[in-house]
């Protein structure tokens, strides 16, 4: 199963991956108009999957019961369990189950690019909706912030009836911005969310990275856990063009005459260097960085997400709560 996950999750694979049984074909999934329905299908499928998976018991917050020892705070005694078993147990980490998660979704115009039947934005929205649905179902509070060159929509993290619906509606708004300013969104989150939480950034990250490290570092310093989802089109990953033509930047509308045969090597070199820089930043601040193509099944994104959480937790335990860069 691990192999399956890794094979399906290889971001450098071009075209529709050779899907193992049980995963939903992205073509079928993206054909569904309703975003919430898409999210539900992914999450339900995921639940079905994890019942048979070695990752059983994975959750956003693993709740642990520990036998009471003198000196523990009696406020954390689980009186219900005492009623059932006549033993004192401390319900550890219960407060962490109410995780506050912020989804930062890039709505810039570069996200409207897509060489498949759907765009990066549609895929990113589905991913955000899936995560939101998943977290909501666990009882966690989910917030949303969409941005392009400026902040577009902001929904605080809550877990109340109707909140998920509201979030889905905001996600359904089409990407309309021009440029991308991730830093504005991060600055806003730094200002608004003072309590520790989980920040998931979903973007193509096709933007200069100068200030990204600083802002992500500031978020990490506040105690937030950070996950970077880089959504990319297969043609961006491999530069699969073959005819020379005028390439127009979807954001700036700038045009360049490009002969792909001649330009591919340079492109891939620069592209890989950019992604390596992102990886370096993520490593530096202890963030999870997951890059995948829009032809990848979304359940795998959930797997990635959970795995990254586990890794984070392991790291944090190893370092006594201080997240350090893993060499």
């Amino acid at each position: 199963m691990r192999d399956v996950v890794e094979a399906a999750g290889d971001p450098n694979r071009i075209g529709t991956p050779n899907l193992p049984g049980g995963f939903i074909d992205p073509h079928t999934l993206m054909a569904i108009k309703n975003l919430e329905l898409r999210a539900r299908i992914v999450v339900e499928g995921f639940w079905k999957g994890i019942h048979r998976s070695p990752y059983h018991g994975f959750s956003v917050e693993f709740t642990e019961y520990r036998q009471y020892t003198p000196g523990d705070d009696p406020r954390y005694l689980d009186w219900r369990l005492y009623a059932r078993s006549d033993r004192y147990y401390i319900k550890k980490f219960e407060d962490e189950t109410n995780l506050r998660c912020f989804l930062l979704v890039d709505n810039s115009r570069s996200m409207t690019f897509g060489s498949l039947a759907w765009t990066k934005a549609q895929y990113a929205h589905t991913l955000a909706a899936t995560l939101a649905y998943f977290l909501n179902r666990q009882g966690d509070a989910v917030g949303l912030l969409t941005f392009d060159e400026t902040i577009r929509e902001y929904l605080p993290a809550r877990n109340r009836p109707g909140h998920l619906r509201h979030l889905m509606l905001l996600l359904e708004k089409p990407a309309a911005g021009a440029g991308t300013d991730i830093n504005a969104a991060l600055s806003r989150i730094i200002d608004v969310v003072r309590r520790r939480g989980l920040v998931i950034l979903i973007s193509d990250l096709l933007t200069p990275l100068q200030a990204l490290e600083k802002n992500l570092g500031a978020l990490a310093a506040l105690g937030h856990e950070i996950v970077l989802f880089q959504v990319l089109d297969p043609s961006e990953l491999a530069f699969t063009f073959d005819k020379a033509s005028l390439f127009e930047d979807v954001e700036s509308k700038r045009g360049l005459y490009i002969d792909p045969g001649a330009a591919r090597r340079d492109y891939l070199k620069h592209f890989d260097a950019h992604n390596a820089a992102v990886q370096t930043i993520a490593d530096k601040i202890g963030a999870s960085y997951v890059r995948f193509a829009t032809n990848r099944p979304l359940e795998l994104a959930l797997f990635d997400f959970l795995r990254s959480r586990v890794e984070l937790r392991k790291r944090s335990r190893r370092t006594g709560g201080i997240v350090t860069r893993e060499e």
Binding site: S110, M111, F113, K120, D204, L206, P208, D233, E236, F241, K243, A244, S245, L246, F247, E248, D249, V250, E251, S252, R254, G255, L256, Y257, I258, D259, A262, A263, D266, Y267, H270, F271, H274
Partner: protein, 653 residues
């Protein structure tokens, strides 16, 4: 093969374009939308690796079309050797007009003129017939067509140049108009002797500096004979700055105390480079008068003070000397006595004297005094029957009554002179006026010749036949003489059979009265009224003799007079040739460079004619069209084949 517009051949370079386009891969207009160009850099257009050309025939056809169009636009022609290169037919008639006006004294213009005439003579063939005419403000034949004919062809040029060498620039003005008309007339006359006058080529060659001061009157509306051309051989000098100095005419309205002849005008040529000039009396030690005259403008100045009666004024600061001298004669107010012989009181409005006194007003030029002293008065006016016999001067007798007839008879030594008062009509008008007489000459213009507003209530009927040598200058409408002139000794007796006082007529109240009085004073040979400033060549009063040819101060008897250059001669800026064309002159400009290019122009004209006859471009355009049709056909077939192949192949997934 030669080309009329060879520059169009450069268009054939466009042939390179189809080839280049074919070789460059950047032929697509396709646009690919991409998320971000941040990892992309422009790729230069790349020449295809395939060096072979796909459709040689199509390419050749397309290149051929471009080449044919370029050659067609270049207007090719085949120049056949001209049969008529030598002289043929009758020779042309040429009049060479050489400007000898004062402005030709500038720089080396005269030398240039001589060389230019020599050039023109050299270009003439033995069959041609030429006449050489020098002109300034009049035209003088230097070598007539008749003399040209008589002279041996080999000698003609030498004779003409020798005659020209004997001439030189004069001090006269320029009257190009009259010279041209004279040349036309002489050409017409010469051509008339030919068998087919209309076929004779006629040409007037004008060798001139064509200055703006040239007079062109007479050319307006002149109908130029067909086949005649005027070739202007323009002379030019590099020294452009020329200023002139001229005396201004006195204004008659100047007050009696104004000084005469004190104003001068300094004129600067419009293409002059200098603007600052100095004016000073010749030989005077006073500092010169500094003046600033911008190019193309003039400035009026008061003469610097001088004691002498006549002097030479000099202008310095410009390039040309010829018009920098002004000869000046100071004119003072002249006192003239007019004797009035009569017994009337001065202020009696019913008498002629009252009006006479008011008729002669004091001006800056003249101060006329009415006296009763006859001695030295050039004009005497007799009212009534007083004894006054004309000896040298002029005497006007106003016949206030028929009794004056006796006095006149006595003066003229006539036995008797019958005279009677007119009767019958309420008034009489002047008719039959002799406007050729000096007395009435100022009124000869139709604008001033209307005397019908003057009513004569009374007049005396005097039969002029009774008086020998009498000349009637004006009659009344009944036919009675109104003004009779009789020569007496060296003087003249004028008899007015009426008078100007209100009882007799309205004459004193009419606008004709004052001019008539001054005309009478002029007629009485009043010398002080003479002008003393003249232009070169201007006709002078009889006592001054023949017109003078050189500027200067001359003395004739008791009088000094000045002769100066005509003011127009200072306008040395070249006249635009368009002005001659506007006047209808069939002009062709000729300058040294143009003359040198004459052959080239002729060749070009022949080429244009040959091209026009052959019209090879039509065939080239037809060929280009044929190429285009072939190209369309072949391209259509190739496209059809290509699409058939692509349809037969399955769509690649």
């Amino acid at each position: 093969m030669d080309f009329l517009a060879p520059l169009f051949l450069a268009g054939a370079a466009a042939v390179a374009l189809p080839i280049l386009f074919h070789l460059i891969r950047k032929t697509t207009n396709e646009k690919t939308i991409f998320s971000s160009l941040m990892f992309l850099f422009p790729t230069p257009p790349k020449v295809t690796r395939r060096s072979r050309l796909d459709n040689i025939l199509l390419l050749l056809l397309r290149c051929g079309v471009l080449c044919l169009l370029a050659i067609g636009f270049a207007r090719p022609y085949l120049l056949r050797p001209s049969a008529a290169t030598g002289p043929s037919g009758p020779g042309k008639k040429v009049v060479i007009l050489v400007d000898t006006s004062a402005s030709m004294r500038r720089d080396n213009l005269w030398t240039q003129a001589r060389e230019r005439v020599d050039d023109v003579l050299q270009r003439l063939s033995p069959a041609d017939e030429a006449a050489l005419v020098a002109f300034d403000d009049r035209a003088t034949e230097v070598l007539s067509a008749e003399e040209w004919r008589r002279t041996q062809p080999a000698q003609r040029r030498a004779v003409a140049i020798a005659r020209l060498d004997a001439l030189g620039p004069t001090w006269h003005g320029t009257h190009l108009g009259s010279a041209l008309l004279l040349a036309v007339e002489s050409l017409e006359e010469v051509a008339r002797g030919d068998a087919r006058p209309s076929e004779v080529a006629k040409e007037i060659v004008v060798v001139t500096d064509l200055q703006q001061g040239s007079r062109l009157d007479g050319l307006q509306g002149f109908e130029w004979p067909k086949g005649l051309i005027v070739r202007v051989e323009g002379l030019a000098t590099k020294r452009r700055s020329n200023a002139g100095i001229h005396l201004l005419d006195d204004r008659e309205d100047l007050g009696p105390t104004a000084e005469l002849n004190r104003r001068i005008r300094v004129v600067n040529a419009s293409d002059a480079k200098k603007e600052q000039f100095r004016i000073a009396w010749a030989g005077a030690t006073n500092p010169p008068l500094e003046t600033y005259v911008p190019p193309g403008q003039s400035r009026i100045l008061q003469l610097p003070p001088i004691e002498a009666r006549s002097a030479e004024l000099r202008l310095t600061g410009d390039d040309e000397e010829f018009d920098n001298r002004l000869f000046w004669i100071g004119t003072r107010q002249a006192h003239v006595n007019v004797a009035y012989v009569g017994t009337e009181p001065e202020n009696d409005t019913a008498q002629p004297l009252f009006y006479l006194k008011r008729g002669f007003q004091q001006t800056a030029r003249q101060d006329v005094r009415i006296t009763n002293r006859v001695d030295g008065a050039p004009l005497g006016i007799v009212s009534g029957s007083t004894e006054l016999r004309p000896t040298n001067g002029t005497v006007l007798v106003l016949m206030k009554s028929s009794a004056s007839a006796a006095m006149i008879a006595q003066w003229l030594n006539l036995p008797q002179l019958s005279c009677e008062e007119s009767s019958g009509q309420k008034y009489s008008l002047l008719a039959d006026i002799d406007f050729t007489h000096p007395l009435f000459k100022p009124f000869a213009d139709p604008r001033f010749s209307d005397f019908t507003k003057i009513h004569f209530w009374k007049h005396r009927r005097l039969d002029e036949k009774q008086i020998p040598n009498a000349r009637v200058l004006a009659r009344f409408d009944q036919g009675d003489p109104a003004l009779i002139e009789v020569p007496v000794g060296n003087g003249k007796l004028l008899i007015l059979t009426s008078s100007w006082h209100p009882a007799d007529s309205q004459l004193a109240l009419s606008s004709k009265f004052v001019p008539l009085l001054y005309s009478l004073l002029e007629y009485s040979a009043h010398e002080s009224a003479l002008h003393l400033q003249f232009e070169v060549g201007q006709s002078l009063p009889a006592e001054f003799g023949a017109p003078r040819e050189t500027p200067g101060i001359y003395t004739a008897g008791d009088f000094q007079f000045a002769v100066n250059l005509t003011a127009a001669e200072s306008k040395t800026t070249p006249l635009p040739i368009d002005e001659l064309e506007q006047l209808g002159v069939p002009v062709k400009l000729s300058s040294p460079s143009l003359a040198a290019d004459q052959k080239r122009i002729t060749q070009r004209f022949q080429a244009a004619e040959a091209e026009n006859q052959q019209k090879l471009w039509r065939w080239l355009i037809l060929a280009a069209l044929a190429f285009l049709i072939a190209e369309t056909f072949i391209a259509g077939r190739l496209t059809g084949q290509a699409s058939a192949i692509s349809q037969s192949q399955p769509e690649p997934r």
